[in-house]
Symmetry: C2
Subunit: 450 residues, 2 copies
């Protein structure tokens, strides 16, 4: 029995040393780890050490490690570099969906090379799954499942389930089809066992099962599994034929990936940037956003240029204007984060959208006035200039109101017109608070102080 | 059969009208919806409409709706306002973990009122669960589970499972204990059925099962369920006694909540702010961060003040310095988002942490030079001042390097000393890029241009 597993340096060192010490030692050391733990250890091992371990272990365990490896550790490269016989053994052990995920990351000629070595059934199953978009139910689904005919009796169904489950480690739900493979519903093993001796599947089947189509977006699949607390969801084609199933563990991975996307996009990072990617990828992903921001920053700075004469007369405005703009940017980021996350988790009605903007208006007004008051007092006592204080108070309040309205309003509008609201990144939103912040403080100063 | 469910206005209107049309119509309309769908509809109904529907439906369905309601819709208030008899009926239908989650949100005297009406068994189970911290395995666990003695035969075990599952809608794993209720391992229903007629549980039990303790943090529980692809994980006490289980669907909710926390914290919003909370809560959650930011903004603006004479001589510096600071803030936010998310999903070694900072240094250098070049050209052709262009080029490059180092380095250091890295919100990080940005451009200008 084991409790939670956290990798530390000693584990990594132990395995690294065991690789050097020879195969017998290595085998003994690896026995202490679950396949998914070795997959985590792999993140800290060299490519050659990874290959050594995969070659040493039986295909059954090696395939589990490869399927559990994070996609950012590139299991496809490890797999492709193995001896063809070992590679084939491992692929044949993998679930079809996992094999497809890994193989899909390779070049076309590499994919072909792997598929040619497989037996006909595996090859055609994987070829079929490779046709679906990675981010849809088709891309996530597994064609291995337990499926019984609706006309079976309890006894025959149990025999059938035992037969089909021979090759399968886990199944959660039993799918029911008719003679034409048309999906009819689901039944649980528990209900079959509890049923009367002479029961028929047709009496036990739950017909109002939730399902998806192969082109259903992965986010929608995740939402359904989460909403209905399902261990798996069937995938059916346009003729109601059962194609496969997506299981809850795939969905957990999808949800993590979608959350990462939200966080990155809202911060002005391309959703395609791998968290552990190298600097070349990072520059490619971020430079375009920064150049866009440079354009908007010029826009904001042109406001400052326009008021150059005012700043020349009251130089302390240069210091205060950075405070107004910065505070606006931060308040806008707050409103943006709350709104984007809310849109991502819930479906908002028109009334709720309107109320959200109204709420952020109120929050901006109060937070603006509170911070404005502090700055007013500072200007009054430090600069001895109450009129300057008034200008700053008004600019702070106004800019935080604009921050609230744009931080909540822009993602809501984007969602309405069908654009991903997370694209309303802080980079876009802070343009508004920069431009309006500078306009407010410098414009008010020109009117009231000169 | 039904496909994915998306609420639209017509659903809400149909139900609202049915509430007015009378109970028979309402019953007919509600038949078309799954309990979890009604729970989503509730987000758009008034409190009185919610109560009307709950009172109309049998406790079995009403309890499902209440357990599926989002916590931000406050199911506890709805529950507490029901007639005591109806309330008791509903609570007795709820799973213990769901009942505990809902009741825990009420005031102490309200909790007492509800618990007093329950039967002794339910009341003591819920009282017990209420003692655990909401964000631990104890707070998430359910005490309802299927559990067999390790000494049973196949036949007796199946009888026992059927008996225990009478009251339970779903179970995924069967837990095995000895005569002293000490946890011994798990067994799947499939393995029991497939076993030989005279098999014993002791031959079938899988003994290396992963488990947690009641005080294990919910994030750790979620990681284990996700890492080992478990449908449920047992919770055991310090004497290895089985207390309950946490199921995958609770963990999906936890993961959503943790991702929301990450996004909010990184944007300078308190993790306690409810996404759909009112403006009072939002002000409470955000004002403290803004006031802290105001302090740091004063710090940055004091740099500007220090260089007042320089700005007076070259007023266009006031415009350029906002560009340098703004670009630094955005680049830092990018580096921060990638690093915080990476820390949250993976465990980084010292070497990997070091490489991360090095990578962000390189990214900052390249993105800084690229943007610096654009601004240099602008200063050269627009202001006709190549030396000013050089100053801006150097300041941009320097500030984006600082952005990369702090955006990656500060969360990594916080993690090292045991502080939540997401607290290194963009508000904190942009202080560095503001202060250093102003120092670089104004300091260099003073040296090179005056």
């Amino acid at each position: 029995m084991q409790s939670s597993f956290e990798i530390d340096k000693s584990d990594v060192l132990k395995v690294k040393n065991a690789v050097l010490a020879g195969d017998e030692t290595l085998k003994t050391v690896l026995k202490d780890y679950h396949a998914s733990e070795i997959a985590i250890l792999f993140e800290r091992l060299d490519k050659s050490e990874q290959q050594h371990i995969i070659n040493l272990l039986p295909a059954e365990i090696a395939s589990e490690i490869i399927s559990e490896m994070d996609e950012e550790s590139h299991p496809e490269d490890l797999l492709f570099k193995l001896h063809p016989d070992k590679r084939t053994e491992i692929v044949e052990e993998l679930d079809y969906d996992d094999a497809t995920d890994i193989i899909s990351q390779l070049e076309d000629h590499e994919q072909k090379e792997i598929l040619e070595d497989l037996n006909e059934e595996d090859a055609s199953n994987i070829r079929n799954l490779l046709t679906y978009d990675e981010k849809t139910a088709g891309g996530l689904m597994n064609t291995d499942l337990i499926c019984v005919n609706i006309n079976l009796t309890k006894k025959d169904a149990i025999d059938e389930i035992i037969r089909q489950s021979e090759e399968m480690e886990e199944f959660y739900t039993i799918y029911v089809v008719d003679d034409n493979e048309v999906f009819k519903g689901i039944v649980s093993l528990k209900d079959i066992i509890k049923a009367k001796h002479n029961a028929q599947i047709t009496e036990l089947v739950k017909i109002d099962a939730v399902y998806v189509h192969p082109d259903t977006d992965q986010e929608e699949v995740a939402n359904l599994i989460s909403q209905y607390n399902l261990t798996s969801i069937p995938v059916i084609d346009e003729h109601q034929k059962l194609l496969g199933r997506v299981t809850f563990d795939d969905v957990i991975d999808v949800m993590e990936a979608e959350s990462t996307e939200d966080i990155l996009k809202i911060s002005g990072v391309s959703e395609d940037e791998e968290l552990s990617g190298n600097w070349v990828e990072a520059v490619k992903s971020r430079l375009p956003w920064l150049v866009i921001n440079l354009g908007t920053a010029f826009l904001a700075s042109s406001v400052v240029r326009y008021f150059d004469p005012t700043i020349k007369l009251i130089p302390s405005l240069a210091a205060y204007m950075t405070i107004i703009a910065g505070m606006g940017g931060n308040a806008a980021t707050q409103a943006l984060a709350v709104t984007v996350r809310r849109i991502s988790l819930y479906d908002l009605s028109d009334k709720q959208s309107y109320r959200t903007v109204l709420k952020e208006f109120t929050v901006g007004l109060i937070n603006g006035a509170a911070n404005g008051l502090i700055v007013f007092l500072f200007a009054y006592f430090f600069d001895g200039n109450p009129m300057l204080g008034l200008v700053i108070f008004l600019a702070m309040t106004g800019n935080l109101v604009i921050a609230g309205i744009t931080g909540a309003g822009i993602p809501l509008i984007l969602k309405r017109v069908g654009i991903d609201p997370a694209i309303a990144s802080s980079i876009i939103i802070t343009t508004f608070t920069d431009v309006f912040g500078f306009m407010l403080i410098l414009g008010l100063a020109s009117k009231l102080l000169l």
